[in-house]
């Protein structure tokens, strides 16, 4: 039985959420500003959204980012699920703790380090083996997969551990061989974690600046890279407009995902 929420906590929570969302609201509001200022309101206008649609560089980089994010998220879910399965279901095998560390370390490692190290790897590989030829979408996908894998592993691991082990044993007992058990029993029951893992990986990939900057090549700029260089030029409501679009998109998908998961509750 938990005690009620004290007024102090209620206010604190309110302020906390305010702190989290105020900057986002300023972004959205000033994307509709008629003037170039982002702090002085001078009337409602959609001009910045129009400008967005005409910015081909931006649009191409957004397309790059979407492709990368889709591939990286999918790869990350596959690898992350395998890793989580190995860690939770395979008992104590040699090298398990080491693998556990390896699987979750990308989560906390500063991205400048991972980015630099991956670039050096690609350069070294190119020198000695001829692959990868130059850097581009593929190298960014590899970099993002490596990062996102760790998140997926943790999510799936939690869900797997929660799942009753005897369900898989019962399926084995009834005559299904291990692969069948995985497909028919395990996967459906961990699917919420797989879906949220994919979405999380997608968002992380879409949003990553540092890794992409290190391992990108000519012609494979991602959206964050383009945004970053334009911020350096100075602030502009066009960026606000872009931010609003992204935020709206994310909000809708999160709500959708949340609603779907809610319905799937067993």
């Amino acid at each position: 039985m938990k005690t009620r929420l004290s007024p102090f906590l209620k206010i604190f929570l309110g302020c906390g959420y305010g702190f989290l969302y105020l900057p986002i609201f300023t972004l959205i509001i000033f994307s509709f500003n008629a003037s170039r200022q982002i702090t002085v309101w001078q009337g409602f206008s959609l001009q910045w959204y129009e400008a967005l649609l005409q910015d081909t560089v931006l649009i191409r980089s957004a397309w790059n980012s979407l492709q990368i994010a889709t591939c990286a998220a999918t790869l990350a879910v596959i690898l992350g699920t395998l890793a989580a399965t190995a860690l939770v279901r395979f008992g104590r095998f040699r090298g398990r703790s080491f693998f556990g560390i390896l699987a979750t370390a990308p989560l906390v490692m500063p991205e400048v380090i991972t980015g630099l190290s991956l670039l050096l790897l690609f350069v070294g590989l190119e020198q000695n083996f001829g692959w990868p030829q130059g850097r581009g979408l593929l190298t960014i996908i590899i970099a993002h997969t490596t990062l996102c894998m760790a998140y997926v592993t943790i999510l799936v691991r939690g869900r797997l551990a929660e799942m009753e082990r005897s369900l898989e044993e019962a399926a084995l007992d009834l005559g299904a061989h291990p692969l069948k058990v995985f497909m028919a029993i395990t996967l459906p029951l961990i699917s919420p974690a797989l879906i949220s893992g994919w979405l999380l990986a997608f968002a992380l990939s879409l949003d990553d600046l540092v890794l992409a900057s290190f391992v990108a090549g000519p012609g494979s700029s991602t959206l964050p890279m383009v945004i970053f260089s334009s911020i350096r030029f100075g602030i502009s409501p066009k960026i606000n407009a872009l931010a609003t679009l992204i935020i709206t998109g994310v909000a809708i998908s999160v709500l959708l995902a949340g609603w779907l998961m809610h319905r799937k509750r067993y």
Partner: protein, 306 residues
């Protein structure tokens, strides 16, 4: 036929196979690169692509030399710029972590006490900002903190100040940025930890005569310790190497290693020095990393043993 298929499928799903892919990937694309960074940190700067000299060289027939260039380390070791930036990075990261704790703990605590109906929604609201662009959220603060920004305009109009405050391009802004961006990383583990607390323990404490504040200090905080550690590590470790936040909000005054590494790499094209900086960062982070891994292992053991 069925026997052959069974054999194949049990091999495919044997620990070996399910492990080979992620393990192999992690080894190749995460672990081995670190060793390459180590190697490059010992080579010297050369013009051309790639801009570093080789470590191993065949000088003559059958003679192999290894050139270990320690000058990079000497360079960053003696130049006070780099030492200062290390310290400043740690300091800023620490301040950011503490800030996250101070704001995040009451929020997590409050969340753990809300009714289950609201809780999912509220939790989602905490996570939602995290899903929108990191870059753009930092960008938003530029708009808020700049001399013509939101805060200054408000304060000027209200007559509280006469001239705009310098809020942007300061260490303060960097710390604020870190707190803002990493807050969800602190709240979620804290919430998970607080939610698990058996509140009959606090009831027992009350029953024994303790006052609410004492209960909070002596019962709740110690019990949520795993969450505190997890959250702190999740904030501290990446913050030390942060680049975007000090770059956009910190200005030229703020020295953080992440920024320095970036500059060495992209501006000076000095890959060896950048590599030595990376190694230096890793050394700094070994202890927090170890703490984090220890905590992870304990969590895992808790989850896996049943």
């Amino acid at each position: 036929m069925k026997k052959a298929w069974n054999k194949v499928s049990s091999l495919v799903t044997s620990p070996f196979m399910a492990l080979v892919l992620p393990y192999g990937w992690s080894l190749l694309f995460f672990l081995i690169p670190f060793f390459i960074v180590l190697k490059i940190s010992f080579s010297d700067l050369k013009m051309g692509l790639p801009p570093y000299g080789p470590l191993l060289e065949w000088v003559e027939e059958g003679v192999l030399t290894i050139r270990l260039n320690f000058s990079n380390y000497a360079f960053i070791g003696t130049d006070s710029l780099y030492l200062l930036s290390c310290l400043e990075s740690l300091l800023i990261a620490l301040l950011g972590t503490i800030g996250c704790l101070l704001i995040g703990y009451p929020m997590a605590y409050g969340l753990s006490k809300t009714s289950p109906r609201w809780r999912t929604v509220l939790l989602m609201l905490v996570v939602l900002p995290f899903w929108t662009s990191f870059l753009l959220r930092v960008y938003a603060w530029i708009g808020i903190l700049s001399p013509h920004g939101f805060i200054n305009t408000l304060l000027l109009k209200a007559g509280i100040i006469a001239s705009p405050l310098t809020l942007l391009d300061t260490t303060f802004a960097t710390v604020l940025g870190i707190i803002y961006c990493y807050l969800p990383f602190m709240i979620l583990p804290l919430y998970a930890s607080l939610e698990k607390i058996d509140f009959t323990l606090t009831e027992a404490a009350y029953d024994l005569g303790a006052r609410p504040f004492q209960v909070f200090l002596k019962v709740i905080i110690p019990l949520s310790f795993p969450g505190i550690i997890a959250g702190s590590m999740l904030v501290l470790i990446p913050s030390v190497g942060e680049f975007v936040i000090p770059e956009l909000l910190g200005g030229s005054q703020t020295l953080m290693i992440g920024k320095l590494l970036w500059n060495e790499f992209f501006t000076n094209h000095d890959w060896p020095v950048a590599s030595s900086l990376a190694i230096l960062m890793l050394i700094f982070l070994i202890i927090p990393l170890a703490i984090f891994q220890q905590f992870q292992e304990r969590q895992v053991r808790f989850l896996d043993e049943d």
